[in-house]
Amino acid sequence: MKDMASNPILSLRDLSVHRGTAKILDRVNLSLAEGETLALVGESGAGKSTIATALMRLLDGAKVEGSAEMEGAGDLLALSERQMVKLRGRRLSMIFQDAGSALNPSYTVGRQLITVLRRNLGLSKAEARTRAVELFTSVGINDPEGRMSAYPHQLSGGMQQRVMVAIALACNPDLLLADEPTSALDVTIQAQIVRLILAQTKSRGASCIFVLHDLALASQSCDRIVVLYAGQVVESGPARDILEYHRHPYTKQLKSCVLEIGTKEVTAPEGTVPPHSEMPVGCRFATRCPRALPRCAGEAPPLQPARAGADGPLDHQFACWNPE
């Protein structure tokens, strides 16, 4: 991989999100290089969707702190809504987990794509239609002309997700956020959609943040992985470092839960993520950690480089007092 640290397209600094008294995200830092694919992984409730939604500025009723510098756009968290409207769809766009509910049920999928193209690129009706058919073709929709006039409910889950990919990529965004784009789909369709998203973003030189549950899928599709636990980054770095040379006990636990074909034994983790009202002030994993030390619950471990000298924001880092 070339040295991409010099030109990150996105730098998230100390992103915290509060809902009431709960700190749902706690000083999250992450960087994304140009053309890079990043996976956000972690248990349900870890805050993966919250990060993506905060970047889109679509979080309702939450207090957001920190900054998210996007190359050429400024701090996404500080822009006015008018400025954000200009960016959404054009420079950054998002694919949601459930395509069925993200599409408008009362319009044909063709009309929804044409609307996006006309609004964001100022194309004429005829131009937008031609472009829409091209896009449907490029995302592997058979009979694209015919499918233009289909309503979302007339399409299978996989087809709906292809339409979502076409809409999200319609205006060649520099950054694509994909929140579990395939967890509602079968493995065969999942492989098709992930390949499609990678091919489409790579050919455009776009960067991509994938929210994923499946670590094996993350290893197949992403350059780097960020592991979240209860709203904090506990480990991040190149995919192979995270999956094979992880230092954080939580990363190890996540990996040991993966069921590959032929896996006959798993060590299921004990317990669950504590509710926000009972969150330890120190390491949030302390209540479940097999390696916890007396200091862990009271003192929060800082992120530190896994290798001396390799201390850039894209290098392997972890936050633990008693690493593996």
Binding site: E43, V187, I189, A191, S219, A239, L243, V258, E260, P269
Partner: protein
């Protein structure tokens, strides 16, 4: 053991018929004719199940695998006696399932179900304790005085916190709700547990917790398990046997490890290749889309997407037939253990 062909392997001391046996089961739904006008009442038959053969022995654990729309849920409804098949025979311990179900509470007590939408299957106005007590009462499992103790026992067995009895489903996480559904299913002391995508949509940690629970239940209580999933890792962890469905037909069955190590049906091989594996490149997906069940390809139903299809595949519709020890496949040119095409035609 799945196939009737291999039932000879059952010890002679157990002359019981299999728990479930499906013989050439067909399920045809009548649906509006595609492209019919608004006032047209024309319908056509949609075969959601077509020539299904399956036999599930006492104590077996069977994974039912296949793409969405392949007929897994329809097959389950037949097993549970919720729908009568439109063709073929569906037997529970040697008797027609619908008949067994209609006669008393024995069947409903013996065959328990965990639904795909666990939250939707639980009444939100009842506490967890009441939800678990309901089947205890319905089937008269314990005396009134022992009910609370049995509820507590079940709550503990499925790994819910002790105070869960007084909570409502809305206050529980997705994983906890599934545990409640499992506790309810176990309340009637069934010998068969049928589960539709019981762990899908959960994160890996919660999934691992539930799967270890299900496996220990299966082993400790000798449960017969029928488990629908589209995750081959889950199938391989939990189930000794696997049945792979494509467009309403079981196209391959056998011991899970043997089938997944060396799939004989090209569709099984494609499913296996699509399963995520650490650091392997994502393989080329199958070409095309799953055809509509209203417009099946001629001959073999997989021929429109099969990388191994030959000329006769568009002429003959292969039935599920024996293929080695305890295995069966519905393919004219099954793959050999090296993944190559078998040389001789069957």
């Amino acid at each position: 053991m799945i196939m009737s062909q291999i039932q000879t392997k059952r010890p002679a001391t157990a002359p019981n018929p299999p728990v479930f046996e499906l013989i050439e089961v067909e399920q045809e739904f009548s649906v509006p004719k595609p492209g019919r006008g608004l006032f047209n009442r024309d319908t056509v038959g949609l075969k959601a199940l077509d020539g299904v053969r399956l036999s599930i022995a006492q104590g077996a654990s069977l994974a039912l695998v296949g793409e969405s729309g392949s007929g897994k849920s329809t097959l389950l409804r037949v097993l549970l006696g919720l729908d009568a098949p439109s063709g073929g025979r569906a037997l529970y311990r040697g008797r027609p399932i619908r008949e067994a179900r209609a006669r008393g509470t024995g069947f409903a007590r013996d065959v328990a179900m965990v639904y795909q939408d666990a939250r939707g299957s639980l009444d939100p106005r009842m506490t967890v304790g009441q939800l678990i007590a309901e089947p205890l009462r319905h089937f008269n499992i314990v005396k009134k005085g022992e009910e609370a103790a049995r509820v507590a026992q079940l709550i503990d067995r499925v790994g819910l916190p002790t105070d869960a009895a007084s909570r409502y489903p809305s206050g529980l996480s997705g994983g906890q709700v599934r545990r409640v559904a499992i506790a309810r299913a176990l309340a009637s002391e069934p010998s068969v547990l049928v589960a539709d995508e019981a762990v899908s949509g959960l994160d890996v940690s919660t999934q691992a917790q539930l799967l270890t629970l299900l496996r220990s239940l299966q082993r400790d209580m000798g449960l017969t398990l029928v488990f629908i999933t589209h995750d081959l890792g889950v199938a391989s962890y939990l189930c000794e046997e696997i049945a792979i469905m494509y467009l309403g037909r079981i196209v391959e069955t056998g011991p899970t490890d043997a089938v997944l190590d060396a799939p004989a049906h090209p569709y099984s091989a494609a499913l296996r290749a699509a399963a995520p594996r650490f650091f392997e490149p994502i393989p080329e997906p199958l070409p095309g889309e799953i055809p509509s069940p209203l417009d099946l390809p001629k001959g073999c139903r997989f021929s429109s997407r099969c990388p191994a299809a030959q000329e006769d595949c568009r002429l003959r519709d292969p039935q599920l037939g024996q293929q080695g020890a305890g295995r069966a496949v519905a393919c004219l040119h099954p793959l050999t253990s090296t993944g190559a095409q078998a040389s001789e035609n069957r």
